[in-house]
Symmetry: C2
Subunit: 457 residues, 2 copies
């Protein structure tokens, strides 16, 4: 009988700080039985989570003290940066046992980024049929539906009845662990529709399956981007997305739980790219993290030097009125922030397909207008600050006008730049930030110092 677990109240699902410290105590005492007693009842996702929370040395000790404890599912749940490390530590026999029970798509996820020797070790542990399925999937492009589909699925001839389907399912056929639809196929194995299990269960045996088929049926090609499939699953509230080959034969399915994972990864990727962090994960080592952060900082340095060059054009102006040096970062900073606001909304809307050629001009005009209105408000505020702080009404006017210019430019550039990048095939999440900040820095310093040179000196 299944055991009831109450809702988790801890910070990290089934894992508490207490549990971690108990496990580590048992590891230090080299008490394998105690470790098993603590870890065996956990869901594989929780074991993976625990392994991610402790440091590399503790992980190594834990795996030594807990021999044979690691199930294949824990490996699939582990973050990519830890998989290689953990797999390296497993004896070939342990690895073989761990991967044997995984579904084909989980094996593919597990091995696709391993080095050749490790990949071969995992594939070698599979039986010939499973290995063939995995190698077939690996032959499709990275990020394609074919690469990530689950090949275990349930098909039925479209002329079958409910009774025939039930008899088939009750026979000794091998079924996927989880399935929610039966896919109908014609005599040439072409997919023609699908039926939910709920409808099959609630209709008499004589009912033809085709009468129970869902109204809409969408299939996806093996080479289609798996993220697009995941977006369609989300958009159309599908549970299973059938994947077909060139002859329209169903060769696999993308399930909603995998789609959820792909969308999570996509959202995380966009977030991290916008912040210039690339593919980073918390469990990466120092040197890896340093390397991931470096390129964006380097790009930012070039940007910052370009901005400094603009300032250097006005050295004499600044020498004549040092107050300009005090106030100039304000204009650039406000522009940078307004630009980031616009570009984040644009990048997100491009990802969710809400920003399209149909509405792009309306959005650009709107963003520029929002920049104008906020610019006018802050112009008044900063004008007053200029007067009060430095007692110069004209300095107030200069900073106010520069502010308006920069906030309008920020709204415009913050939308146009991501849209153009997307059009020319560059990921807008990755590159927009640097371009937009360059524009707002340069425009900000140029407008403020240029106006000051013209009107104040």
């Amino acid at each position: 009988m299944a055991e009831i677990e109450t809702a988790f109240e801890d910070e990290a699902f089934g894992i508490t700080d207490r549990l971690i410290s108990d496990v580590m105590q048992a590891v230090v005492a080299r008490d394998g039985e105690a470790v098993s007693a603590l870890l065996d009842p956990l869901h594989p996702a929780d074991v993976a989570h625990l392994l991610e929370q402790i440091d590399a040395r503790d992980r190594r000790h834990l795996l030594v003290v807990w021999p044979g404890g690691l199930e294949g599912e824990v490996l699939s749940e582990l973050s990519e940066s830890l998989r290689e490390e953990v797999i390296e530590q497993l004896a070939p026999s342990e690895l073989a046992e761990a991967v044997r029970d995984l579904e084909s798509d989980d094996v593919v996820d597990l091995v696709e980024y391993l080095d050749d020797a490790q990949q071969e070790a995992v594939l070698g542990a599979l039986n010939a049929t499973d290995r063939l399925v995995v190698e077939q999937a690996l032959s499709y492009p990275e990020e394609s539906a074919g690469r990530h589909m689950q090949s275990e699925l349930v098909r039925a001839p479209e002329h079958w009845t409910v009774g025939e389907a039930i008899d088939y399912l009750r026979s000794d056929v091998v079924l996927p662990d989880q399935f929610y639809h039966i896919i109908l196929v014609d005599p040439r194995l072409k997919a023609t529709g699908y039926v939910t299990l709920g409808r099959i269960l609630s209709h008499p045996r004589a009912t033809p399956l085709r009468d129970l088929a869902e109204d809409t049926f969408r299939t996806f090609h093996v080479t289609q981007d798996v993220e697009e499939v995941a977006q369609a699953i989300n958009h159309y509230h599908m549970i299973t997305a059938p994947v077909v080959d060139d002859d329209d034969r169903v060769v696999g399915v993308i399930t909603i739980d995998d789609a959820m994972m792909f969308l999570e990864e996509e959202a995380e990727e966009d977030l991290l790219r916008l912040a210039g962090v690339g593919e980073g994960s918390l469990s990466d080592r120092v040197i890896e993290t340093t390397r991931q952060r470096f390129p964006w900082l380097a790009v930012n340095l070039i940007t910052a030097i370009m901005a400094s060059f603009v300032i250097s054009l006005f050295e004499e102006t600044i020498a004549g009125l040092v107050a300009l040096a005090v106030l100039m970062p304000i204009v650039a900073s406000m522009g940078g922030n307004a630009g980031t606001q616009s570009l984040t909304v644009a990048v997100r809307a491009l990802a969710t397909r809400d920003l399209t050629t149909a509405n792009v001009w309306r959005v650009i005009k709107k963003e520029a207008l929002v920049g104008l209105i906020n610019g006018l408000i802050f112009a008044v505020v900063m004008g007053a600050v200029g007067v009060v702080w430095f007692g110069s009404p004209m300095l107030g006017v200069v900073i106010a006008v520069a502010m308006v210019i920069n906030l309008v430019v920020a709204g415009f550039a913050g939308t146009v730049i991501p849209v153009v990048l997307e059009k020319i095939g560059v990921d807008p999440a990755l590159a927009s930030g640097a371009f937009v900040t360059t524009v707002t820095d340069i425009v900000g310093f140029f407008a403020f110092l240029g106006l000051a040179a013209a009107w104040l000196l």
Copy 2:
């Protein structure tokens, strides 16, 4: 028979620019039949998408020309900012017809943020039973599992067999549109486990349901945060999450497709909050968008003024060497970017529960160390720039040392600030940016100008 649709290749799922312009032409020609012919075959999610792409005036005309066309599901798919506008335009009878076929959780989603008059209009269109269910859900706190659960579900006594379950499902009982599990209950209606439909279909009629129950069974309380439930669904790969009341009786379920929506919303919220955009959506009006952007820009203005104040402390230093004004934004900008990198990783890791008390110190040390290494590299680069550009080795040393200090501080503050905000109950996505930038601006200007004052003049 279901119709096959090929994989979408357009930018926005089923919606192409061509379709939008065809629809708008038919609207201009006031040709209701042509509009119906174009829109009726579309999935409700696609109709909603189309309504979001066109502007408010076109939307108004479209709804006038396409009377009675709008299904309830289109309303649930619409972004929140458009719902009020569209509902206002529907005649009471149209609204009644639209909402009558929705599942209870969709009605709740639809009405929860409507004003009282509109809410009453929708509730009034429901029959007494449905209305009771919706009002019950609305009595649970916002964002709770009880508020968002689907109350339609399938329960069975735990002592039933497969045959009894099938006979029950085939009787004239009302079933949910979609269901994937049967939830087992004891005589007091307490939930004790659940069985997937796939296992029921693949076992003989005599098999007891309890023998087919899933190994793990988790329930969630009606008052639990629905985002937590969604995270658990994702973490544990569940399809259905049973929601129970104080007596452990199942009163509803959160399904994986809704969980997917909640996680998407959460990820979007974090992304937009990090960029200081609040709850913005592309279809908000100018004035709303201006209002959403304003607070963050105002906070940034205060931050920028504080940074300017630090600069003003060194007016004499700058007057003595204008090159300082040229170079100082570089140090602040690099610190700001490094800080944003660290804080984005930290905010994301807090959201996914990867950053916990168990590893927080390790992460803080790592981030500071990453800052130190990158700081040293950029210090060498900037030192060289200082020497080459301004011919002053000492200026090079000043900017190099300031760079190292600011990047270490950025790594430290970028992690500590979000963690502390989370601990004291403030959303780290919302507030971290302002704090971290303040720290890196002030430290950057202070270190650079302070060292310059001490060593150069």
